[in-house]
C-alpha cells in the first residue's frame, strides 16, 4: 500500500473531519451560553425555568445529552439548560467535583478513579452502552483481532475506558498479551488519519469516527467490542452535593435525557436530523469512490449502530464490577471498590414504575 492509497482516502476523510472540527469549534463558541433562545413549544412559560448546567463531550456516545438540547427536551421539562462542552471526561469530572456543572455524561470509569481517591460523586442514570469499533484498511488483510499480533494499533488515551476494555476484553478474547500489540495513544481523528496514511494497521474508535472512516476513508470494521461483550460505558454523573441540594433538578435533567434516548432508539431518522448540525458543518461528505453521502445518513448510521439506554440493570452492574477488576489488574485502581457504592438509582426506580 503506497501513496496512491493515501491520496485516495486522505482527502475525503480530512474534509469530513474538518467539518467536524469546525462544528466543535463553533460549539465551544455557542454551546456554553446558549440558553432559552429556542422557542420552547408546549410549555406554559408562567413558571420561570430552572437553570441547569450540563457537561458533555462532542461524541456520539453523548448523543442523549446533546439531543435533549437540540430538540428542546430540557425546556420541555421546565429547565433552562446551559451546555458546557469538554474535550475529555477527565476534565468534565473535575468540573463536577468543583461544582462548575450540575450533571455530566461521561464514561463511568472516570467516576470510579475519582471515587477511589475520595471524591463525592454518584452515578445517577445510564446513557449509552460501550461501543468501540476496530477499523482496518480494506486491503490490509486483517480479518480478526488475532491477526493483530505484531501490528500497531491506534487507540485513545491510556487508562481510558477504551484502553481498559481493549486490554481486559479484546486482547484476552483473542488470546493476545498487551505486549503482542504495540499501541499508539492519540485522538480519534489522528487515529483515523494515521490508519489512512498507513502509519498504524488498525484503529480502535468510537462514533461518529467509526462511520466517518467507513464512509470517507475506505475503512472497514472487523470487530466491535459491545457486540461480543456488552457493557455500560457512558453514564450520567452528579456530585453528592448537587443531589443533596437539588435532587429535583437532576431528576428533571434525567427525564429530558430519557426522552432523548427514546427518540434515538425509536426514531433514529428524526434524531439524526437534530444531531447532524452539532457534528457536521457540511450537508454532504465526499466518499472514496468520488461520490458523496448525506451527512445525515452517516449520523443516522452512527446512531443505529449504538445502543442507548437510560436504566442501569443488574447485569450492567455486574459488568461494571468486572471492569473494576480489570482496572485493578491494570494498575489504574489501587484496590477493588464496590460499584454499588457509586450508584444512586432512586430516579431510575421512580421512572421505571411510571
Amino acid at each position: 500500500m503506497g501513496w496512491e492509497y493515501k491520496k485516495k482516502y486522505a482527502k475525503p476523510f480530512l474534509i469530513g473531519l474538518l467539518a467536524m472540527v469546525l462544528v466543535s469549534l463553533t460549539a465551544c463558541g455557542t454551546g456554553n451560553t446558549e440558553s432559552g433562545g429556542k422557542g420552547a413549544q408546549g410549555t406554559s412559560s408562567a413558571t420561570p425555568k430552572e437553570k441547569v448546567r450540563v457537561g458533555y463531550l462532542l461524541v456520539m456516545d453523548d448523543a442523549p445529552a446533546i439531543l435533549a438540547h437540540e430538540a428542546d427536551l430540557y425546556q420541555k421539562h421546565g429547565l433552562d439548560e446551559e451546555m458546557q462542552l469538554f474535550t475529555s471526561g477527565t476534565d468534565m469530572i473535575k468540573a463536577i467535583v468543583g461544582g462548575q456543572i450540575d450533571v455530566g455524561v461521561l464514561g463511568f470509569t472516570n467516576a470510579l478513579t475519582w471515587l477511589d481517591k475520595g471524591a463525592d460523586l454518584k452515578i445517577v442514570g445510564g446513557a449509552q452502552m460501550g461501543y468501540h469499533s476496530l477499523i482496518v484498511r480494506k486491503d490490509s488483510g486483517i480479518k480478526s483481532v488475532k491477526d493483530l499480533k505484531g501490528r500497531v494499533v491506534a487507540s485513545q488515551q491510556k487508562g481510558s475506558t477504551a484502553d481498559i476494555v481493549w486490554n481486559g476484553v479484546v486482547l484476552k478474547e483473542a488470546g493476545l498479551a498487551p505486549e503482542d500489540v504495540p499501541m499508539q495513544y492519540v485522538s480519534p481523528s489522528v487515529a483515523v488519519q494515521s490508519l489512512t496514511a498507513g502509519r498504524v494497521d488498525a484503529a480502535f474508535v468510537f462514533e461518529p469516527y467509526d462511520h466517518l472512516a467507513r464512509a470517507t476513508a475506505g475503512a472497514e470494521s472487523i470487530y466491535e467490542v459491545g457486540k461480543s461483550w456488552p457493557f455500560p460505558c457512558m453514564v450520567v454523573i452528579a456530585s453528592g452535593e448537587t443531589l443533596k441540594k437539588n435532587r429535583e433538578l437532576v431528576n428533571r435533567t434525567l427525564d429530558a435525557q430519557k426522552e432523548a434516548i427514546e427518540m434515538l432508539e425509536n426514531s433514529p431518522e428524526e434524531a439524526a436530523k437534530y444531531l447532524t448540525p452539532a457534528f457536521m458543518k457540511e450537508e454532504k461528505l465526499q466518499t472514496v469512490e468520488g461520490g458523496s453521502v448525506p451527512a445525515v445518513q452517516v449520523i443516522r448510521e452512527a446512531i443505529e449502530a449504538q445502543d442507548f439506554n437510560w436504566d442501569i440493570t443488574e447485569d450492567q452492574i455486574k459488568k461494571m464490577q468486572e471492569i473494576v477488576g480489570m482496572m485493578v489488574e491494570q494498575g489504574i485502581l489501587k484496590k477493588e471498590i464496590d460499584v454499588r457504592n457509586a450508584l444512586d438509582l432512586s430516579w431510575q426506580t421512580k421512572a421505571s414504575s411510571k
Binding site: T90, K94, G159, R199, I332
Partner: protein, 256 residues
C-alpha cells in the same frame, strides 16, 4: 549563581511552595495533594526506576532536538547577516511560522513520519529554531560597521569576515538566543509528549496521571519539569554564558 542572586532565587522557590501548601489546605487532597505528600511520591517513583527511564527518554529527545535547532538557527542567522535579501526572506518566513504554536504540527508530523521520537524531535527543532535565528540575525545586524570596514580594507575575504568579525561579535546574541530557545524547546517537548502518541516521557506521564485521577502524579511531574528547567536555564546556561562572555561581567565593563 552569585550570592546576591541566590537568596532571591531561593525565596522565589519558597514562595511557590508556600502558596501551594496554603491552597492544599483549602482543597480536598484528591484535587490538590500537599507538598510533603508529592515529595514522598517522587522518592517512591525514583526508587521504582520506571520514572527514570521516562526521564531519560525526554532528555534524549531534548538532547537531539535542541542542539540541532541552535545549530540551524545560528548558521542561518549568520548568513542573514551577510546578505540583506536573505535576511528579509528569513525574517518573513520566521514571522509567518512563529505565530503557529509548534505543537499544532504534531498530528501532521505523525502522519508524515510515523510514531516515535522523530515527530517530537522535529517539534523541538521548530520551537527552538526561531528565537535562535532571530537573536543571531539581530546580532549580525548590530555588528560595528567600522570593524567590518577595517577588516575589508585589510583584505579580509567573506570567510574571514565571518570567522574574525561576525562570530566573535555575535557571540553574546548566540548565547541569549540559546537561552530563549531552551525555554521554547523544553515547553514544546512536554507538550508534544502529552499529545504525540509517545508512550514514555515526562509529558506522557502527566497526561496518563490526569486520565486516571492521579493528581499527586501530575504535581510530581510538574515539580520535576520545573526543577529541571530552572536548573538547566539558570545554572547551566548561565554558567556557560559567564564563562564565554566573562569580559562583560567584570566590574567596569560595558553593559554589566
Amino acid at each position: 549563581m552569585k550570592g546576591d542572586r541566590r537568596v532571591p532565587f531561593l525565596l522565589a522557590i519558597a514562595t511557590l511552595f508556600l502558596i501551594w501548601e496554603g491552597v492544599s489546605f483549602l482543597l480536598p487532597p484528591y484535587l490538590l495533594p500537599d507538598v510533603p505528600h508529592v515529595f514522598a511520591r517522587l522518592w517512591e517513583e525514583i526508587r521504582k526506576g520506571e520514572f527514570l527511564v521516562s526521564l531519560g527518554n525526554s532528555f534524549m529527545r531534548l538532547g537531539i532536538g535542541y542542539p540541532l535547532a541552535c545549530f540551524l538557527g545560528g548558521i542561518l542567522g549568520l548568513f542573514a547577516g551577510l546578505s540583506k535579501r536573505f535576511a528579509h526572506y528569513l525574517r518573513s518566513i520566521i514571522t509567518i511560522l512563529q505565530s503557529i504554536p509548534p505543537i499544532t504540527w504534531i498530528p501532521f508530523l505523525v502522519i508524515l513520519f510515523g510514531f516515535g521520537n522523530l515527530p517530537i524531535v522535529i517539534v523541538i527543532v521548530i520551537a527552538a529554531f526561531f528565537p535562535m535565528a532571530l537573536s543571531v540575525m539581530n546580532g549580525t545586524e548590530g555588528v560595528e560597521r567600522t570593524h567590518l570596514e577595517v577588516a575589508r580594507v585589510m583584505g579580509a575575504s567573506k570567510k574571514e569576515l565571518l570567522t574574525r568579525v561576525y562570530l566573535p561579535e555575535t557571540l553574546p546574541s548566540f548565547i541569549t538566543g540559546a537561552q530563549v530557545a531552551f525555554g521554547n524547546a523544553w515547553r514544546s517537548l512536554i507538550a508534544a509528549e502529552m499529545v504525540g502518541g509517545a508512550a514514555s516521557g515526562l509529558g506522557w506521564s502527566i497526561s496518563y496521571s490526569g486520565e486516571i485521577a492521579d493528581m499527586s502524579g501530575v504535581l510530581m511531574n510538574i515539580v520535576v519539569i520545573g526543577t529541571i528547567a530552572s536548573f538547566l536555564d539558570h545554572v547551566l546556561l548561565e554558567q556557560i554564558k559567564r564563562r564565554l562572555l566573562h569580559w562583560r561581567y567584570v566590574a567596569g565593563g560595558e553593559r554589566a
